[in-house]
Symmetry: C2
Subunit: 469 residues, 2 copies
């Protein structure tokens, strides 16, 4: 029984990432190119994410529905910007059994058009508003190159689609859901995020405003990890959705959509993982504790499990016939926040050994205090993971006041760069062509402090730029 080898993350981060995905048993490949199998641990993490978010969605008045997974070509074509954005990357169904379809259909790459068609039928008056719908489903985008969780032909996600009586209400909804995402990523995933509006160039196809959650990975690359869009009347106009308002006039409703996906698992891995594998934040880990019994400790094992159950602390027991060394390595690669070694000799002295996954620190604890200590540690680990990620991220944010400086940082230092920008897409494109860095988002809370770093003209705003997954 070999202990699984993982590539050093400072030597080859891409290989390290795939190694962790495979060796932590998060995913597997199959003969379905571009798709992945999500294995029990990977799926359990996703289920935990779903559970927390779904509760927050429902508390804020949203209802789940399920739209068809197919979109007839004519329906996809209703909104021009949207079809231009998605048509090049959809999977087309052309045959049902042996028969050619009269009209081909794509597997949904996102469901705006399906929701709009439905809303047109069910929204008649202001009494029907708001409509606050969400769906959990799989979408398909025919990517050329794929990477587990980050870029895959099939993506598990949720997509919220809402309709409102007024512009103000729709804008509020866009921000409310955006803040739910931000809160979730910071407080559950322990990922510090940068948030703001996308530039026009980087907006969602068809959106008036796109708010984005940008997380910085260990290698300094950005991962767009959730977006919330304000559509104005854009789709509603294209679909002819109208309602009679309380003043008896016919009006067009205002729309939002927002989504997060299994990409968040990719972020978890790349923000917190280390050379031994996955490191899961306690609040999202399917099992907070892995218990490794060493020698005959049956009595205490039963007792301990009951205490953990009582306190609602999820755990697993590794009672396989592998060696302790192998089990420790397995526990590390799979990222359990706490490893509890229940050893016969330790217990004779009334002690057990606890190992924190995040710091690998070993702690000798009185057997009688173990559950209290675990509860305390789970809080510490969660906080420490967030703080460490934040310190690292902040160290990798730079400022460039000239274009030479920008190019120099882009070449030599991984991370995000803050710049002053004139707002012109030509400058945005030039940066991308010269450095591959793209704008991440507009910085809302900082004043412009110089001219546009590209063209030297008056800057309108400050933005983050960075390489992206």
């Amino acid at each position: 029984m070999e202990v699984k080898e993982i590539t050093n993350r400072d030597i080859d981060f891409a290989k390290w990432y795939t190694d962790v995905c495979m060796k932590a048993d998060l995913i597997d490949y199959s003969s379905v190119k571009g798709s992945m199998i999500i294995r029990p641990l990977g799926y359990a993490i996703w289920e935990n994410m779903q559970k927390v978010l779904d509760e927050k969605f429902k508390e804020s008045g949203h209802e789940n529905v399920q739209m068809p997974m197919f979109i007839p070509e004519s329906l996809l074509n209703v909104e021009k910007e949207h079809v231009d954005g998605f048509a090049p990357e959809v999977a087309w169904v052309t045959h049902g059994g042996k028969e050619k379809l009269e009209e081909r259909m794509c597997v949904r790459p996102t469901s705006e058009v399906l929701f709009c068609e439905h809303y047109k039928k069910i929204i008649k008056t202001y009494r029907d508003l708001p409509k606050l719908y969400n769906q959990w489903c799989t979408i398909v985008r025919w990517e050329k190159t794929t990477r587990p969780f980050l870029r895959s032909r099939e993506i598990l996600w949720q997509e919220g689609h809402t309709m409102h009586q007024t512009k103000e209400e729709a804008l509020q909804e866009t921000l409310k859901m955006f803040n739910i995402y931000k809160d979730f990523q910071e407080n559950y995933l322990a990922i510090p995020v940068i948030t703001g509006r996308k530039t026009d160039k980087e907006k969602f196809a068809g959106a008036e405003i796109t708010y984005t959650i940008e997380a910085m990975m260990y290698d300094g690359y950005a991962l767009q990890n959730g977006t919330s869009h304000y559509f104005g009347n854009h789709f509603a106009d294209a679909f002819g959705i109208k309602f009679t308002d309380s003043d008896n006039t016919l009006k067009t409703p205002y729309q939002t959509s927002w989504g997060v996906s299994t990409r968040m698992i990719g972020a978890l891995i790349m923000v917190h993982g280390d050379d031994r594998g996955l490191v899961l934040p306690p609040r999202i880990a399917p099992f907070k504790v892995i218990i490794i019994p060493i020698g005959d400790v049956e009595h205490q094992l039963v007792e301990l499990q009951e205490s953990l159950k009582e306190k609602n602390i999820t755990y697993k027991v590794d009672d396989s016939n592998k060696t302790p060394g192998f089990k420790f390595a397995e526990a590390e690669v799979k990222g359990y926040p706490i490893r509890l070694e229940l050893g016969k000799r330790d217990l004779e002295n009334g002690k057990v050994t606890i190992v924190r996954r995040d710091t690998l620190e070993k702690i000798n604890v009185d057997y009688n205090d173990v559950v209290d200590k675990i509860n305390e540690l789970l809080v510490d680990i969660q906080n420490d993971m967030y703080n460490r990620a934040k310190v690292r991220r902040d160290e990798m944010i730079y400022e460039a006041s000239t274009y030479d400086e920008l190019k120099n940082i882009a070449e030599t230092k991984p991370g995000f760069i803050k710049i002053n920008w004139c707002g012109n897409v030509t400058c945005e494109n030039k940066i991308k062509d010269d450095t591959t860095l793209k704008s991440r988002c507009i910085i809302e809370d900082e004043e412009v402090n110089g001219p546009c770093v590209v063209c030297g003209k008056k800057a309108k705003t400050r933005i983050y730029i960075g390489k992206q997954y």
Copy 2:
């Protein structure tokens, strides 16, 4: 504001069914032919079903995974019986964006072949067994005629796929999951079911044994409402799956699969619904109580909601500006088990009115006792609904000892017929050709009491026959 009209179920059951689906806002149609939109109430019922079943699956050691949604044609072709069974009704993806795929892929109609391919990779020794996987997903079967929840191109379901060291263990698993389904349908859906093995003709493509759950609808038709299959080594052989057993010899594992789907929502409607609409059993209803405030009862409304929350009784409040009459009709069509009328005048006498959806009985209750009374009623309603459905079903089970008798019952009386049968598919086919009745399942606990009703030869077994959805 019109009160929605529903067709009388004794006049046109098919129309009644569609009316209930539409008027209870369970589903809607879209331009995606053959698919349906599952609306908030329909989806909330499905979520409740998922929640109960998922907990039972996990308690019995199963883990959730997610396989790709596509199957390359060559992979579907590995097992012959299976491909013959499914190829005529799959949706084929032929293009990704503008490019034609080298090999076309179907959208999964079921995932045996995907699980087998994965199991071949991850099962090496007896220590890797059993593998107890389940997935919740959408499957696609290209049906010609469709009907909400019963027959649809897209089906939401779960599919369990397990691998075992021994035949006995696999057989036990097949029965264990079958019993979980049976228990769920009887105790949560309040649907009395008939259970047993399918005949060879009606088995799942590739299965050695198929156990089926057959429910009888109000119109006497059968709905196959869950199946559990024992595959033996059938697929494992086709895929070359082998493991080293504890005796160090190479063996082939034994396999099962089992599934239930949103069809169960169809069964709920057709077993319990009435001319006013849906009737939901309390244990599966998303909201057990609908509160209709009449007049200014703000204080009691707040108090009542807190009491219900405290007792974990889910509820909704209809505080729209519709008339009470309209609200009552809405509450009935949507099937809330209990309607609570919170009226100002009643409250002045310390009373509220409760209406049972199943019997439409009105009950005057002391305001102070209302939550206790609701709790009591929810149990009664659940039991009464089951018992009423059982009485009705039992009244529609007949026995035929001659072929003339069989044909006569088939023509004149809706329901199931018990017959003695020789075991020969020719006789099974003859019944189907002459009467459209198909065998439902083999009756395990009754002794043969005469010759085969078709050919007059020695009967091997007794079976239920009936028309089916």
